[in-house]
Symmetry: C2
Subunit: 171 residues, 2 copies
């Protein structure tokens, strides 16, 4: 039976240390995975399409949202989905507008808001990249069976919820 941190904060110190070491190991390995995968995707995007990962992510996010929001997303909504700050997005969108891949128009009902949407060139660029992107990922995930993947997905879901909920209380 695994002990819960919340329910038993006073169990022996050695248990804490063992547990913390095992958490750290897991966390570092996860970081290594994302670094490796992100690095390879970044390099492949640069080599094959002369673009960057954040640009690709932004285009992909707009495309993914296009069923719900066919006219585009606001800057805030986009930054929330990409998990980056608003300020970061400003420059990123600037560059993509300059490249003609996205359009940025003021929202008529709310003059503060900017609606960002894919241009047809943006759609075309994304369609050109997406199959390769999927292939690269498939290639890197190839040793995981479908069951492995499903299990990983479930565990990550649990972790995500846990990390989001965690209050950063420090005694």
């Amino acid at each position: 039976m695994t002990t819960s941190i919340r329910s038993d904060p006073l169990r022996p110190r050695v248990d804490h240390e063992l547990e913390e070491r095992s958490i750290l190991r897991t966390w570092l390995r996860m970081l290594a995975c994302t670094n490796i995968i992100e690095g390879r995707v970044r390099g492949a995007l640069r080599e094959k399409f002369d673009t960057t990962l954040p640009r690709f992510d932004l285009l992909a996010q707009l495309d993914a949202a296009s069923c719900d929001a066919p006219s585009g997303l606001t800057m805030s909504e986009l930054s929330r989905r990409l998990m980056v700050t608003n300020g970061n997005l400003t420059g990123l969108v600037d560059r993509l507008v300059r490249e003609g891949l996205v359009a940025r128009v003021s929202s008529p009902p709310d003059r503060r808001a900017q609606i960002v949407s894919l241009t047809s060139a943006g759609k075309a660029a994304l369609n050109a990249m997406t199959p390769d992107h999927a292939l690269w990922l498939r290639n890197m995930f190839q040793d995981l069976t479908e069951a492995d993947r499903r299990h990983l997905y479930t565990l990550l879901g649990k972790l995500k919820r846990s990390a989001q909920v965690a209050t950063e209380w420090t005694p």
Copy 2:
């Protein structure tokens, strides 16, 4: 039974698409996890210790290596371990030297190499931060049982190996 990509590259197209979607979902969720956790650790380091995550990682890496290499690590070795480029490290070490947390000396046997090591102030700073860092992680991982963690660790190990080995061949 799960089909292998390598052994059966000609199975029906719909299987490919399902598999790719499931891989993408898993990958995006993993990215979300690391973004959330990294973000919270970054924020906590800034709030409580007025420092940054890369600085902390560098100090921690030097400390972790201190048993093997008590006199410090070269820039190249450090950049390899931190999984960042050499050029990145130059500035990072510059800032830490300016803050007095690490020392950088030329290696006598190889005058090209720079050996970076923790100063006593650096050790002290790290010792002050490490318990909190472990606590933050423990807090964010709290909903995962020990079995969950072990399983996650194993799956990530498999993924890491798979991603490292993957050749970025594109047909």
